[in-house]
Amino acid sequence: MNGLIAAISTVPHAGGRSIVRLSGPGAVDAAAALLDDAGAVLNAPAFSSIEARLDGLAVDVFVFRSPASYTREDLAEIHLPAGGHWADDVLGRAVRAGARLAEPGEFTRRAFQNGRISLAAAEGVLALVSARGKAAARAGLRLLSGHAPPALRLALDDLRRLHADLAASLDFPEEDIDIIGPQTLIESLARIRVLLGRTGGGGIDGGASVVFLGDVNAGKTTLFNRLAARDAIVSEIPGTTRDALYAVLRLAGRDVTLVDLPGLAAAGDFAPLTARLAAREASSADMVLLCAPADASPAVSVETRSVLAHAGADALIVVVTKCDLAGSAAAADSAREAARDAGLRVFRTVDSKPGDSRAVLAALTDALSSGRFEPGLVASVALQRAVAETLRLVTEASDSAAAGGLDICSSLLNRAVIVLEEPFIQGSGHGSVNEALLHDIFSRFCVGK
C-alpha cells in the first residue's frame, strides 16, 4: 500500500490552474517523464521549483524529496496553467506510466501514517478543504495547527492533574500529600464529564479563539495574565506551538481560548521564525485583541502590522495599554488605522491601565454576544470518538472509585488521558489507531488531498 499514487489536487473542471500531484517511490522521476524535457527535474534538489514545458506549454514543477514533503515520501507537483481535459490527460499518462489513482484523502492519510501530522491535524485539513465559510476555515486551521477545542483542553488538563494526584497518593500513602479520596475523585470526574459535554455533539465546538497581537512592550502579556488569572490554566496539548501561551476563559456562555504570542517584534535571528508562527496563529483566530501602548511611537510596529495582515478575524478590539503614562488618543488612532489597513473591522476601542482589565473583559463579552461573530464548528470524527471513549472511561473510573477500587480508577484515568490526547500526537499512525476509524475519517476527503 505504499506505491506511487497520482491525482489532480484541484477542483476538477473549474478555474484556470490545476495541479497534478504524485507521491511515493519514483514520484520525481515519474513527474519528470511527463515533461517535454526531463533533465531539469530529474536532478532537482530536495526542495525546489522549476519552470519546465509540458506539451509545449509553460508549467511549474515543485519537487520535494523524502522525508521533507507533505507525505514524507518523494512528492512532485506539476502546476498546469489550465484545467479540464488537458489535466485529465496528463493524469492519464501518469497512470499509464505506473502510478495508481489516489483514493480520497490518501495523500493526507500517508502524511498521518508517516508521522508527518497528527490525526486531529489530518481532520483539520479536511475541515479546511471543505469549509463553507471563514469561521469554519479558521476552525479547521486551528485543528491543523494542533489546537484543541477549549473545553477539551480544560478537560485534558484536569484529567492529567487528577491522575497525577491519585498516582501520588497511591505511591506515597504515608506522606501527608493531600490524600485524594473517593469523594474528591467522584466530584472531579463529574466536573470533567461536564467539560467533555461542552465540546459539542454533532460537531466539535471549536470555541472561540482570541489572539493577542502587539509589540513586546505593549503590555499584552500582562493583560493576558490578568485575564487568564480568572481561570489560570496555561496548558500544553502535544503538537501546539511552544512559542504561544494558551488559557481558557468562559465568557458569554462559551469557552474562549486566549492565545498570547510573546516575542513578536523581537530582533535577532529568530524573528522570521516567530513571525511565521505568529502569522499562522493570527490567521486561525476568530478575534484579535490589538494592544497598543499609549506611550510608544509608533504604537503598532511594522512587524505587528505584517502579522495583522494575515488575520482573517471577524472582529478586532483595540486595547490602548499604559494609559497611566500618556494620553490614549494617538495610540488609538494609530491602532485603528493599522486594523483598517489589514482589512479588519474594529469592534471597539478600549483604554486600559495596569491592574484594570474590566473594560477589556466587557468588550470581549459584548463582541461574543454581538452575533456578528460566529465561532466555527468542525466535524471531527477522531475527536468525537476520543471524547465519547473518554466519557465512558471517566464514568467507569468514577464507579470504581465509589466501589473503593482506586487502583482500577488510576488505570482507567491513565487510559483516559492517553485516549484524549491521542488525536493530537504526531506520528501515532502505526499500531494504536484502528483501521475502521481511519477509513471513516479519510473516506470523507475528496480525491487529491
Binding site: A68, G115, D171, F172, D176, D399, G427
Partner: protein
Amino acid sequence: MQPPPRMIDYLPHGLREIRVNDFDVIVIGAGHAGCEAALASARLGAETLLITMDVSAAARMSCNPAIGGIAKGHIVREVDALGGEMARAIDATGIHFRMLNTTKGPAVQSPRAQADKALYSAYFARLLANTPRLTAVGDTVSALLAEDGALKGVRTLSGSEYTARSVVLTTGTFLGGVLHVGDDNFPGGRLDEPSAPALSASLTALGIELGRLKTGTPARLLRSSLDYSRMDVQHPDPLPQPFSFDTSAIDRPSVPCYITHTTAETHRIIRDNLHRAPLYTGRITSTGPRYCPSIETKIVRFPDRTSHTVFVEPEGIDSQEMYPNGISTSLPRDVQLDMLRSIPGLEDAVVLKWAYAVEYDFVRTHQLSPTMQCRRLPGLFLAGQINGTSGYEEAAAQGLLAGINAARLAAAANLLEIPRASSYIGVLVDDLVTHDIAEPYRMFTSRAENRLALRHDNADRRLVDLAAAIGLLPAGRIRRTRRKAERFSGAAETCRRTFIGGRSVDRLLRRPGADPAEFFASSPELRSLGLPPNEISELAVDLRYEGYLKREETSARRSERMENFPLPAGLDYARIPGLRSETVEKLALLRPDTLGRARRVPGVTPADITVLEIYLQSLWPHRAG
C-alpha cells in the same frame, strides 16, 4: 558442575595468600545486591568468591531499617518467586509487619516490615559462611584486571589477585564515597566505614563512564532518651502477611513505631542555617533523590507546610537505636541537635550517630545491558546502587539477576532477560537501560503500565516459568506453584459455569461489595473445589480484574509487533533523515536494542519512532511489515 572438595573451603576467611585463586564468579561487595548475587551464583553451581571489606557487615541497612513498601514490597516477593533470599530473610527477622494501601485496591497493596538490623545482617552472614561453593573474604578490591580489553579478574589492596570468568560489581555507595556533615567532609562509604577510592580509577581506565549521585540518612537516637507519650503509636498488623511464598505464617515478637512531626520552630532553625548546608553552599553538586529529600530540601520546596511527619522506627528488638524517618540532613551537628530538640518527643534526644549525606560514583546506565552485563567490558556485571538506584529491594533484584547471569556466563550458557511486562523487576531493568539516570532511581507502582496485572500476591504464578528456567527454586516448589495456577484457572472456569440466581458467579463477584467467601460457601460446586479462604479472595481479585487486564493486554498486543523489532547495533542515527537532533543524541547514547525500548527513551516521540520504522523497513523490506 560437580566440584571436588577444595582446600579453600577449609581455610579461614581473610587469609592473605589463598592457594586457589581462580573462580567462576567473583562478587565485589556484600550488600543487598552482593549477597543475592553471591548466593544465586553459588547455588547455581558456580565457584563463587565474595570479596567485601567487612564480612560481618553483610546486608547492612545503611538507612531505613525496613524492607518493602509501595512497589518495593512487590519486588521483594518477585525476588522470592525467582529464587532469591530477601523475602525469607525479612520473614525471619522482621519486627513490625504492615500491609500498605489496604483501602485502595489490591494492585497497589504492598507489604512492608521493620527489620531487626542486627538479626538481618547476621542471617546473611550465616548464609554466606555456610553455602557450598561460596567463599567470603574480607578485603578491598582496588582494581579490575583486564587483558586486551577482556576481563580477567580483580586485584585487592592486600596485593592478592583473583581470576574469574565473571565479576559482579555491587559497591553501593562506596565507590569514591565522600561523607558530608555540615562543613566537614571526609572519605567514607558509610559512617565508620572507609570508601573504595581506587576502584573508580580502575573503571575509568577501562573506558567505563561514571557519574556522581548523593543520598542522605538521618541521625540515630538513643531509645531511652525519647518521650513516647508525646508521639502517636503505630501498631503492626495483627496477622502479618509473609513476604516469602515459602513462609506459611509469621510468629515473631513485634514492636510498635511512633509518629511525630516537625514544628514551625524546627523550620525556623533550618531556614536560619541553610547557608551552612552543603547542598546550598555548593559543596555537594551531585543530585539526590527527588522523593526522599533532605529535610532542608523539603523546607525550601514546600515553604507553606507548617509541619512534616517524622516516623520514629526501632532498629531492632534489643537495639538502643531509633531511626527518625523523614529528617535526613547534612546540616552541621549543632543545628541537627537544635532541630531534633524542637520535635515533640525528641526534646531530650541523645544522638548516637549524626545525620550525614554521602556522595558516590555510579556507572552510567547507557553502558548497562538488560542482562546486567556491562557493555563496555563483557564479563563484568553491575548491580545495585552502583547503577544509580536507591533502595535495598531494587538492589537485591538487580543482584539476583546479575548473579544468575554471571554464573550462566561462566558456564557458557545463554544469558536471561526479565521482560518488562512480567514484573516490577522487569520494569526496573528496562527503565535503567532506556534512561540516562540523573537522580537516584526508585520503584513506584506508577512506573508499571500494567500494574493491575502485577500484584504482590500473584508474583509466584506470574513468574513460575521464568523461575523454572532459572533453576534456583527446588522442583517441588515449582510444582506446587504450577498446581496452584491450575487450581486457580480451574476454579475460575467453575465460577464462569456456576450460576446463582441466574447470574454466573464470576459476574457476581465483580459487583462492588460482593463477598467471595459467601458465594463459595453457598454453592456446592464451589465448595467442592476446596480452596482455602486466602485463595478464594485472591481468585475473586483475579476475576474482578479480568476485564481490565484483557483491555490492557489488547492494547499491549497491538504494539507487540514493534516491541521486539531489533535495532542493529551499529545503527548510525545521525544518518537517518527526519530524526530530530535531540533524539539522535539520546538514541546514540543509550543504544536501545529494540524499537520498543527506543520508544520508551524519554523525549523520543511517536513521530521519531515512525521515522525509524520507515527507515528500517527501507533497509529490510521483507521484515516485520
